[in-house]
């Protein structure tokens, strides 16, 4: 503890350097801006929507984009722009909460597999590989068939498919740390396995995993929209982006603006997080920076 405090005063220099490098990278700045827009919409959605995203107004149905309705209205007269802003809240809350839970379970299982006995490691790895061998969407459809489509089912699916990836990464890191000198030293001092894992291995594993997990947010957002599009995700009338796309696809000839509007936030979110994540990874991984 004292050591890290002693090191801290030097850290701002590295942080400033990092910030400068981020500002020099146009793609990173673009990514950061897009992510900021999405996160802002997600947090302040109820206060910034121009219309009530749930309010039906049949006389205004299927109006093309105009100054009053920027992205037009849908077949029930709801303002699509308001629904999209509200949708960012659903997308982000599903994305962040499921990844958070998957990360907790994945790290715990990975630590157990990496530090525990060999047979347990083999068993858990076989389990992870088997779950991993289900294509994500197909796993989602299977679970939705069994449990019925709902938000809980959707979250369960995302957690199920993300957990093995985090568990595997944690396991690999744990295996390499397990026999490192400092862990052997603590073990010889008589520390319990729980203490070794929780205090001495976990902090070294969490950092890189958090970056990887944040890069998974766009794929989870896309998975949520995709499963909702297929009718297996968030039920109506919630304004999920996948729902807006699906309703738009049914009216693609009469109201093409609906699918255009439904796709834009997905593109903004995925591009934003990916550009930002890629740049961050390149900056934080010097080995990669040298090659690329």
């Amino acid at each position: 503890m004292q050591l890290s405090e002693a090191v801290l005063p030097a850290a701002p220099g590295a942080l400033t350097l990092f910030r400068r490098r981020l500002a020099r990278d146009p793609l990173a700045m673009l990514g950061l801006t897009l992510v900021a827009i999405v996160v802002f919409c997600g947090i302040f959605a109820p206060w910034i929507v121009p219309y009530d995203p749930f309010k039906l107004s049949i006389p205004d149905k299927l109006q093309p984009p105009s100054l009053t309705h920027w992205f037009g209205t849908d077949n029930l007269g709801r303002d699509i722009f308001s629904r999209i802003i509200m949708g960012s809240r659903i997308a982000l809350s599903v994305g962040i909460s499921t990844i958070g839970i998957a990360l907790c379970i994945g790290i715990s299982l990975g630590l157990i597999a990496g530090y525990g006995p060999r047979w347990l490691d083999n068993f858990l790895m076989l389990l992870f590989d088997s779950v991993y061998s289900f294509p994500t969407v197909i796993m989602g459809l299977t679970v939705a068939t069994l449990l019925g489509a709902s938000v809980t089912t959707l979250m369960f699916v995302v957690i199920l498919v993300q957990t093995p990836a985090y568990a595997r990464l944690t396991r690999t890191a744990t295996l390499s740390l397990k026999n490192s000198e400092y862990v052997q030293a603590i073990r010889s001092l008589g520390a319990s396995p729980f203490r070794i894992i929780a205090v001495h291995i976990l902090p070294n594993v969490v950092g890189p995993l958090l970056i990887i997990a944040s890069m998974d947010i766009p794929s989870v957002v896309a998975l949520e929209a995709g499963l909702t599009y297929l009718g297996m995700g968030i039920p109506p009338p919630a304004p999920s982006w996948g729902r807006i796309l699906q309703e738009g696809y049914n009216l693609i000839r009469e109201a093409p603006w609906m699918v255009v509007a439904g796709g834009i936030p997905l593109i903004i979110t995925t591009l934003g997080f990916t550009f930002l994540g890629e740049s961050l990874r390149d900056m934080l991984d010097p080995r990669l920076r040298r090659i690329v």
């Binding site: 793609l27 076989l126 389990l127 590989d129 088997s130 779950v131 991993y132 061998s133 289900f134 294509p135 994500t136 969407v137 197909i138 796993m139 459809l141 299977t142 679970v143 939705a144 068939t145 069994l146 449990l147 019925g148 766009p218 896309a222 929209a225 995709g226 599009y229 297929l230 009718g231 297996m232 796309l245 738009g248 696809y249 693609i252 000839r253 093409p256 699918v259 255009v260 796709g263 997905l266 593109i267 995925t270 591009l271 997080f273 990916t274 550009f275 890629e278 090659i291 690329v292």
Partner: protein
């Protein structure tokens, strides 16, 4: 080499078996009576009894598991509850469409992505290299179903150039090819970026190796060095990537098939899932898992066969 091949295949089979057990236990673990879940709350008692009997749900669980494995080993994936057709037959009818779609999507992605990656590595920091880097990150991240819907809007609805629905007339290859253009494009777009990035990174690594320097010192033309000495090695990581990619491709294929109303495994599973037709979902899922699980050992063995350096370490 033979031992290695057997080990890898054995692991794939083990993964298949575990997945089957997981699918089987999923059906047991869900709350409620499976027959009611499949048929809906309003189904008659006789129908429920018939389904329970057909699925063997009255037997003890170990017996059910044994029958389940026995049937699958005989290639019998069960019977569709609604059409009474064997699920194996339904899956086999749909599988070729998905395989053609995946092959076409990966095919055009490889044709563009691999040369692009090569060029980017050789002409590092050129305009094309930087442009490819941005475009590839962009295309990788955009979901295939958004691409598919925008393609339909632009090329089918606005311009009216390409057909939207189905896989084309049976036997009319030209019609089938025309129906394949948009789905294959939507499926492959992200892979252009993936492939070009992998090939670029691996080319850069190979181009710095000693044997390339030696080839240069001998005065071989650059074209020959790239084609015969660098690309041959640099291409290997793409084989592993493609094997891992099968899972992602199958997932994207689900969306693409559903959006273009194309027959295939993906659409089969979506339609069955919407009707909660579990035997068909199960059959389709097992087939995709088997495809994915077998792609891994095939790629490992292929790499060991192609790369003497890997073979030497076995």
């Amino acid at each position: 080499m033979l031992l290695y091949a057997l080990q890898r295949t054995g692991l794939a089979i083990l993964i298949c078996i575990t997945s089957m057990v997981m699918l089987f236990s999923a059906l047991k673990l869900i709350p409620g009576d499976p027959a009611t879940i499949m048929l809906g709350a309003r189904a008659s008692a006789e129908m429920k009894a018939r389904i329970t009997e057909e699925l063997g749900l009255n037997d003890p669980i170990p017996v059910q598991l044994a029958t389940f494995f026995g049937r699958i080993l005989q290639g019998n994936l069960g019977t569709d509850m609604w059409s009474q057709r064997p699920v194996t037959q339904i899956v086999l009818d749909n599988l070729p469409y998905t395989l053609v779609l995946i092959a076409a999507g990966l095919g055009w992605a490889a044709l563009i992505g691999i040369p692009l990656g090569c060029y980017s590595a050789i002409r590092r920091n050129s305009f094309i290299d930087k442009f490819t880097a941005v475009i590839s990150v962009g295309t990788i991240s955009i979901p295939s179903f958004v691409v598919a819907i925008y393609l339909i809007l632009f090329f089918a609805i606005e311009l009216g150039w390409l057909p939207v629905i189905g896989a084309g007339e049976r036997g009319d290859y030209l019609d089938q090819a025309v129906h394949l253009i948009m789905p294959a494009f939507a499926l492959g777009l992200g892979w252009v970026g993936y492939l070009s990035r992998i090939v670029r990174a691996s080319m850069l690594e190979v181009m710095g190796e000693n044997h390339i320097r030696t080839a240069r010192a001998f005065g071989l033309p650059e074209y020959r060095i790239v084609k015969s000495y660098a690309l041959r090695i640099a291409i290997l990581p793409t084989i592993t990537l493609l094997a891992v990619a099968i899972g992602g491709l199958l997932s994207s294929a689900v969306f693409v098939e559903a959006i273009f109303a194309r027959p295939g495994i993906g659409k089969l599973i979506v339609d069955a899932a919407n009707m909660r037709n579990f035997p068909v979902v199960q059959g389709g899922v097992l087939t995709t898992v088997a495809l994915f699980a077998l792609a891994m050992p095939i790629s490992d063995i292929l790499i060991a066969w192609l790369d003497p350096r890997v073979r030497a370490t076995l």
